[in-house]
Amino acid sequence: MSADEQIRLLREILKWIRFVGAKEVRGVLEGTLDSEQKRLVYHLSDGGRGAVEIGKAANISDRTVRRYWESWARLGIMEPMKVGGGERYKKSFELEDFGIEVPQVASTSGQVEKRSQPDADEEGGH
């Protein structure tokens, strides 16, 4: 089987698994992200932003962001990734896909929405 065929097959499998699993995933997301602040932290955790940057946007400490990340990873809705000498987490799902409203980022941190490059120097690991 060629690489293209494999990818096409995987896409097809994913399509149906998403369809079947959507209800469960939405349940976990809604149950876990039970405040606007948590939803914002989750939404901003795209792997490109560090805990400090997200903490500022959500008005919480970077330590709290990391605590959320670890807890959400244990639930299977985030995945860890290596950045520089530390570790950062990336959301596994897009809230919009599940009809969950994405909170607006405060205007003071409007720059957060524009950034996408890793900022490894702020990651100290755990």
Partner: protein, 157 residues
């Protein structure tokens, strides 16, 4: 998403995939990895949701939950016994129950010791809550002048 058709989702997915892979140097392998990773994530969450009820009825004590959380596919049973103070035979009995319930995979090709398929968080089982329950049971027993040394191990009596 439940009301969204699989085909629309596939289109959105393909769009995201193009965005993701356009900035990467090995498009084929990274696309495969990304798809496999997402498939695994969905399967895991769906499976955890199905296993939750059974897990909650089976993992009903602090000690049992602690033992379950230590089944990483690497740690030896003797080490788990030393860490948790749960007798070896009890651990063996629980392992059989866990495997039968589909909560633990037996040793195999990828890991040489039993491995928990889920985290306690995924199963919505809280060690803290179970610990609190043990304390309450101990206190109630003490109030009645009964020793509960055995009662904390295994299902609630």
């Amino acid at each position: 998403m439940g009301s969204t058709s699989p085909d629309r989702l596939e289109a959105v997915d393909a769009q995201r995939e193009r965005r993701t892979t356009s900035s990467q140097t090995t498009p084929e392998s990274s696309r495969t990895e990304r798809l496999l990773s997402e498939i695994a994530t969905y399967l895991r969450i769906s499976a955890a949701a199905q296993a939750r009820a059974k897990a909650k009825s089976l993992i009903d004590s602090f000690e049992k939950a602690t033992v379950y959380s230590k089944l990483d596919g690497v740690t030896a049973q003797a080490q788990i016994e030393a860490d948790t103070k749960v007798p070896n035979q009890t651990i063996s009995d629980w392992l059989r129950q866990f495997v039968r319930a589909g909560l633990v995979s037996p040793p195999g090709e990828f890991h040489k010791r039993p491995k928990a398929l889920f985290t306690l968080d995924e199963l919505d089982i809280s060690l803290e809550a179970l610990g609190g329950r043990v304390k309450r049971k101990r206190k109630a027993a003490l109030d009645r002048g009964i020793s509960l040394t055995q009662g904390t191990i295994g299902p609630e009596q």
